[in-house]
């Protein structure tokens, strides 16, 4: 149960004009049918095609106009709410509407003056990094074993995990989880939040990583063994480097999920000092009176930057295509 929201679909496939998405971790053989077709088509002699007429017919003109209208509307729909996030932090008189700002950095002073704002970002980092470490390490160990050693009932186990992770979501399980943490005295514990979130993210992480491990030829480990490497050395020096892209994917995915998660820390952390940005932000505008827009806008901007950077990184490195569609 990756709790509630925040999501990313990272991909291991390259972005290319005519290159179709090959699937999870590009396991050879899994996606060959998909991958082969366009290449073949490209290699075939082109059927004689009539060259396009140089002047568009009125119908085509209308079609083009319609096409760009649709695209423009879609762009406006998706961009409109986000403009506020870009303009208001630097606006001399921050308001709710979007306006061309009289540039200023004064709003950031409100951010510095707030006793909890920067601390909550730190808390978000603690939660995200803690969960990422736990998920990456545990998932790596588990997925390697599950890929290489026949443990009885393994396939059933994988099925059960897949099922569980999709039905026991943060919202559906908030009552028992809250009650459990309440009785264990783990309310207001960041460790508690990390454990709950990791438990929810692990099944998916194991799946993705197992796909990565499955693609490593066993001869790698075998040859290392022939040369007398110990199990630990093989894992440390052969397996880990080979599945590093997988580990990175899992880490980024976990961080984005935890960074944006609202529900779990919202119900488990009552102490303002411990709340992450997602939860603290709500107190800026719901507790009576007018919302402090200078604070909200600058805080939102700061809080969103890591996600945007990670998006750019993933987009650049892998292309934002399908791998595991992972949304909590």
């Amino acid at each position: 149960m990756s709790r509630e929201d925040g999501s990313i679909a990272a991909s291991a496939s390259e972005r290319g004009a005519d290159r179709p998405v090959s699937g999870a971790s590009e396991a050879p053989g899994k996606s060959t049918t998909v991958a082969a077709e366009p290449n073949q088509a490209a290699g075939q002699p082109e059927p004689a095609r009539p060259s396009p007429p140089p002047i568009m017919t009125p119908r085509q003109v209308v079609g083009r106009i319609g096409f760009y209208t649709v695209i423009a509307l879609a762009t406006a729909f998706f961009a409109l709410p986000m403009l506020w996030l870009v303009s208001t932090p630097f606006d001399d008189t921050p308001g709710l509407s979007i306006s061309l700002p009289d540039l200023t950095l004064n709003n950031f002073r409100d951010l510095m003056d707030n006793p909890y704002a920067l601390g909550s970002l730190l808390n978000s980092i603690v939660l995200a990094v803690g969960a990422a470490l736990l998920v990456v390490i545990f998932a790596a160990l588990a997925s390697y074993s599950l890929s290489r050693v026949k443990i009885p009932g393994r396939d059933m186990l994988l099925y059960a995990l897949l099922l569980l992770s999709s039905i026991v979501t943060g919202t559906a399980a908030m009552v028992p989880i809250f009650l459990m943490m309440f009785q264990l005295g783990l309310i207001d514990s960041q460790i508690g939040v990390i454990l709950v979130l990791s438990g929810g993210l692990l099944p998916a992480a194991i799946f993705i990583l197992k796909d990565f491990v499955d693609t490593i030829p066993k001869s790698y480990e075998e040859s290392a063994r022939v040369f007398g490497a110990s199990s630990f050395q093989i894992l440390r020096h052969i397996v880990v480097p080979v599945i590093r892209p997988g580990l990175a994917t899992i880490a980024v995915w976990t961080v984005v999920n935890v960074w944006g998660n609202f529900l779990v820390p919202f119900i488990l952390l009552r102490d303002t000092d411990k709340q992450p940005a997602a939860v603290l932000m709500r107190t800026f505008y719901t507790e009576g009176g007018a919302p402090n827009l200078a604070l909200i806008s600058t805080f939102s901007l700061l809080y969103s930057i890591p996600v945007v950077l990670m998006y750019l990184f993933v987009n650049r490195k892998y292309g934002f295509r399908f791998h595991g569609g992972i949304k909590s």
Binding site: K30, A74, M82, L161, A172, S198, G199, A204, N315
Partner: protein, 321 residues
């Protein structure tokens, strides 16, 4: 929830390790697994154990415990907090007779149907389809915006929409020339539906882009040569190729939308419970109201609905194999 299987390629988790046998040294007798590193069963189990413990404690146990809490009158405070009593199916009969619960169930259905099944599905497909012919930079721009809407933290996007829809100085009213229109009070349900379409279309768009890339160009070319209209091409050539993905996508986004808590950040269920979808209803009754037993009963209903959708999804994956 976290879904791992890539619908685009059906790299299903149930796929046994055959694909991993790149080494070519596999002994057919042991079914494809070779414990090349020499972990042994015990150490292998020890590797799996930490993950399984976390999953058992934070996924399996809560699900099972919901069954128990749901048949008690457990409350967070008061007498029933110390000694919860067994009340049988009272919570369930209470829920089914409660107008608020039934209203919440109905709102959830409307929310999922319009924002996910129709909205995200339709807009996601339309974008994927239209962006195929768009120029590089147009495509990148639109895709980036759609993806950003998807990955920004929910607390931020919730406030962005509150600002957009604000009664007095919201941008939407300024654009439409409807000053003073309080969208979140007049049309709360429509607002969170549109919001959720904005928020979640990225997944459908990505999935359908991948699916559309698998339509053989030669067939599209043939359709073009015989003069098929855009609509005919869509219906007779493209749709048969993406039909499976439509089902996969619909199931996944329905499941996610059904479990989405983000509308709480915009309307908190109000005004007057008019946007109190099930997740918000559970929060309001159990966490705020302290009625744990009743909340658990409603949670179980939610878990069962999740289970049904997930079973459909798994069956679909298995058939596809």
């Amino acid at each position: 929830m976290a879904q791992t299987t890539s619908p685009a390629t059906e790299a299903a988790p149930d796929e046994p390790d055959e694909s991993a046998s790149g080494g070519g040294t596999r002994d057919p007798a042991d079914g494809g697994e070779t414990d090349v590193v020499g972990l042994g069963k015990w150490r292998a189990s020890a590797f799996v154990a930490p993950a399984m413990v976390l999953v058992a404690v934070f996924l399996v146990f809560p699900a099972l415990w919901t069954l128990y809490i749901g048949v008690t009158n457990y409350r967070l405070t008061g007498v029933a907090a110390r000694t919860p009593e067994f009340v049988g199916l009272d919570n369930y009969t209470q829920a089914l007779g409660d107008a608020n619960f039934l209203n919440s169930l109905y709102l959830t259905l409307v929310f999922v149907l319009f924002s996910a099944v129709i909205g995200q599905n339709g807009l996601g497909f339309a974008l994927a389809w239209r962006l195929q012919d768009a120029r590089g930079w147009v495509k990148r721009l639109v895709e980036s915006l759609v993806l950003l809407a998807w990955i920004l933290p929910s607390s931020i996007v919730a406030f962005l929409w509150i600002a957009l829809l604000d009664r007095d100085s919201g941008t939407l009213n300024a654009l439409l020339g409807t000053p003073g229109l309080a969208w979140l009070i007049e049309y709360p349900m429509a607002s969170i539906i549109i919001f959720n379409i904005w928020r979640g279309t990225a997944f459908s768009m990505l999935l359908y882009s991948a699916a559309l890339a698998s339509v053989p160009p030669s067939q599209l070319e043939t359709a073009r040569l015989v003069g098929a209209s855009r609509w005919q091409t869509l219906r007779d050539i493209v749709f048969p190729h993406v039909r499976g993905h439509v089902l996969t996508n619909t199931l996944l986004i329905s499941l996610w939308t059904f479990n989405d808590f983000t509308p709480f950040l915009i309307t908190a269920g109000g005004p007057n419970g008019r946007t109190e979808i099930l997740p918000v209803y559970i929060y309001n009754t159990a966490i705020t109201g302290g009625e744990m037993g009743y909340g658990a009963a409603v949670s179980l209903i939610m878990l069962v609905i999740n289970l049904i959708i997930a079973m459909f999804y798994l069956r679909l994956l298995r058939e596809r194999k």
